[in-house]
Amino acid sequence: MPTGQASHRLILGCDMSTLIETLINGLLLGALYALFGLGLSISLGVMRMINIAHGDLIVVGAYIASVVTQAAGVHALTSLVIVVPVMFAIGWLLQRTLLNHVVGRNVFAPLLVTFGLSVVIQNLLQEMCTADTRSIRAENISQIGFDIGGVSIGLLPLLSAGVSVGLFALTHAIVGRTHYGRQSRAVADDPSTARLVGIDDKNFLAIVTGFALAATAFAAVLYAIRTPFSPTAGPERLLYSFEAVVLGGLGNLWGTFLGGLIIGVAQLLGARVSSGLGPFFGHLVFLVILLARPQGLFARAAR
């Protein structure tokens, strides 16, 4: 009974192995979205700062990587050696010169400052690098795929997911076990008391933002290899990052990771239903989950 068997295995208009493939690719894409959200999650968790320029900073990372690969003629992944420290420096400088003035003032101040920053970054990129889309070629990873039991998986998504898991684990270890982590938890819980017991919060917050952008640098390079980018690509990155962070619950690191996975899977399953509607289903799942749990999946207990 071949026909009966076939119809039995059809779910969402595709057979079982396609479904599994979509799920796995959704999870891998979601891990990259989670990595987009990592930097945002850190600054929200420690400083309660909504960084509207986060998406544009991802794009800045992508442009730096593109310049480095072209100028030095190195592989995209090798460019990380330069992109990561440069992004750390940008984060440190931004926090010292601009953001420290507004952190902790109220909800709007950091949001509006980073909003202005976002417009500045987009237009500076347009001025310096033109409005054309760019991409970074790295065929030796972007074109390779494996075939595991009829399910094909690309090397690049696998690599992205691995880097994402690694960076989340690293951040988790830093927050949980190191002196910096204890400081960050202290500042997150009560900034003024943290200052009272001797934390130089201005410098400390600069290091936190530096770290957040260093993590973002990895997201930026992997994104640049995966998708062509342009100066105005930031807001969309910001939206996906935001969805991952908000879905997981503000200030919850692994919540952000899970949030990213959910958005990734929802987008690819949605794209199976209708090719143009991937992001639509991502947003829909986001809203539905948020309606059920308005504080996200794993909100930190209210103080």
């Binding site: 909504i50 909003f115 202005g116 001025e127 908000v246 209708s274």
Partner: protein, 348 residues
Amino acid sequence: MIDRAVATEGVTNASAMHDALKISRLVLSPAILAGLIMLPWFGDFGLQRLLVEAFTLFAIALAWNLLAGYGGLVAIGLHFFVGVGSYALFSISNVLHLNPWVALPLATACTAVTALISAWPMFRLSGAYFAVGTWVLAEITRIAVLNTGWLGAGAGMPLEMISSFDRWSRNANVYWAALAIGAGSLVLTVAMLRSRLGLALKSVRDSEVAALASGVPASRAKLALWVIAGSIAGTAGAVSYMSTLQVTPDASFSLSWTASAIFIVVLGGIGTVEGPIVGTFVYFALREAFAGFGSWYFIGLGSLAVAMMIGAPGGAWSLVQRFYPIDLFGIRRRMPTVIVHHNATGAS
């Protein structure tokens, strides 16, 4: 004693100023309004189009400022209402073969109902969740419209009924509609802020816990604010697309609407009514003077907003207030004279 004399003098000065402002409000506002109404007879189409843009953007900025500055509701997705309002106008006018100016109040009603319905999911969220939630709402609606055939999908749709008007009356009527939404939203805002609702909102903004404890119906006040701000933004969006004759999902549900509103409010002063007025002037003056510089204009605008938030978070209006502490619209509640006396004696 000296303190008391100073205080009394201060009070007399303040009430003299208050009276002067009241008189100038009564004389000046009708004069300005009359001048603006007559503009189509002596201004050219270019000026009219610029003012249409200025009035509609002013109304949207006022709506954003109402939500953020008075309700503590940061809506990154205010452009949701711009899109809904303009699509409501176009589809109502095209389907019912209605004169667009007759359809406009219906479009306003549509946005008000949409605001009421969207409040149910959105008001479950708060703070950053609300900010992002509204953005996602706008984005999901944009994609939905983009994939809806009878709304014209990606190409959008034209305003068919408007072609029956000649060029002069089309321009003039769009201009008057824009003036009506600009002036109307200002009057509505001032009236609202001077009413019980305004007092409730300000008390919630200053301390939600204290307001709730004194029996202020905080959530009902915020809901009313959301519906009013949404209707203002939606109507302004509808008028704005009346002048471009074609509505598309990517343009009408564009984040740039909210971005411009935020610029105006930040430049002018958040949480004041004068702020968006000053902000609109500054925004359009800068644009008319420097828009030729392309990206550099936006870089300058962005830097100005950043500098403003760090150096003068109250915006340009707070700088004016530092030297001339005036309350143009009589919104601020003044402490009764007796209490001022009391404080002065207590202090001396």
